[in-house]
């Protein structure tokens, strides 16, 4: 496939890069990425991947845009309040780049639909805001041998790690089990500074692009933590865990399952 003059201009800053070039841009245009959650993390990730020309982007979220989302979820605008987040996201992504195919899944991801959902994609971004979803995405990706980017944000802090099958520990290796529901506040209860989603979600987009073009070192085997108040990034080496319940030598988790979702008590 030859690039049109318009494509050469649109992607010129990519093509000029030695690490991307024509080949890398074509890989991006052939790639399929699924973003689960169109919120604080998913918003910047979806915008940057659409702008980068990732050919097919799936976005899954069951919620509608709420006024309280707009402080950080920059893919949605004030007139979008009340609209399905996936539709609002698709409109913003196609406004930036009409060439991108955006598949929308207006549903909660759960054990019964996740395996089919991720099957058609090369890479998955976890942009969810709760532990049951994060463990579900991890288990399903491990079991389907699907690379993915984990991230979480709360208050002024964020973290991320990248899982690639056979190249290091998974999320469950590190965190084992969701914490007890009352032990951890959600973003709704705890608050979250808007730009933290921009930083961590953009890092997820960056990991995705690097995975697709096959350049650089991914955050596999490491957890990156960011404390905005202290302006401190830490890259923590993760140990190999042989007895992980999903990716270890004798796994006890053989198919995805749902932890109980706890309603936010406010």
């Amino acid at each position: 496939m030859a690039f049109s003059n318009e494509q050469l201009e649109r992607y010129s800053r990519h093509i000029i890069l030695q690490e991307v070039g024509v080949k890398g841009q074509k890989k991006l245009m052939d790639a399929k990425v699924l973003i689960i959650g169109a919120g604080g993390l998913g918003a910047p990730a979806a915008l940057y991947l659409a702008a980068a020309g990732v050919g097919t982007i799936g976005i899954a979220d069951a919620d509608e845009v709420d006024l309280s989302n707009l402080q950080r979820q920059v893919i949605h605008s004030t007139p979008d309040v009340g609209k399905a987040k996936v539709l609002s996201a698709k409109e913003s992504m196609n406004a930036i780049n009409p060439e991108v195919t955006v598949n929308v899944y207006r549903e909660f991801v759960n054990a019964s639909n996740i395996t089919d959902l991720i099957a058609g994609y090369d890479f998955v971004i976890d942009g969810t805001d709760n532990f049951p979803a994060k463990f579900l995405i991890n288990d399903a990706c491990v079991l389907s041998k699907k690379p993915f980017s984990h991230a979480g944000i709360i208050r002024f802090k964020g973290q991320l790690m990248t899982y690639v099958p056979g190249q290091g520990p998974c999320y469950r290796c590190v965190f084992r089990e969701p914490p007890p529901p009352e032990a951890v506040p959600t973003c709704r209860q705890a608050g979250v500074i808007g730009a933290i989603g921009g930083i961590i979600g953009s890092l997820q987009a960056m990991e995705t692009v690097k995975y697709i073009i096959g350049k650089g070192d991914l955050l596999t085997g490491y957890l990156l933590t960011y404390d905005a108040l202290k302006m401190d990034f830490r890259k923590i080496k993760l140990p190999d865990v042989k007895n992980c319940a999903v990716c270890g030598e004798n796994p006890s988790i053989l198919q995805p399952f749902d932890y109980e979702q706890v309603a936010c008590k406010l």
């Binding site: 690039f3 003059n5 050469l8 000029i16 030695q18 070039g21 024509v22």
Partner: protein, 81 residues
């Protein structure tokens, strides 16, 4: 240009930076190692920047000929697959 066997020719006098280099780069990526590309480019910014950028990518500049009409012909040998 007789001294080089030209495999492909492009004209980038109708575009400006950075599309000049982008077009040259796209043309080079489509060639095989050792093949030769002739690029017609404008005086000024293109002739200052495009040869340097091509060199940085590891290709070999064989010749830069002044056409004396405000354009140049740059002959480049592709290095690498």
């Amino acid at each position: 240009m007789d001294e080089f066997a030209i495999d492909e020719s492009i004209d980038i006098t109708d575009v400006v930076c950075p599309v000049t280099f982008v077009k040259a780069k796209v043309a080079l990526e489509e060639l095989d190692n050792g093949q030769v590309l002739s690029i017609r480019l404008s005086d000024g910014e293109p002739v200052q920047n495009v040869p340097r950028s091509i060199k940085e990518e590891g290709h070999r500049i064989l010749k830069l000929a002044d056409n004396e009409d405000g354009t140049y012909n740059l002959i480049v040998q592709k290095i690498g697959e």
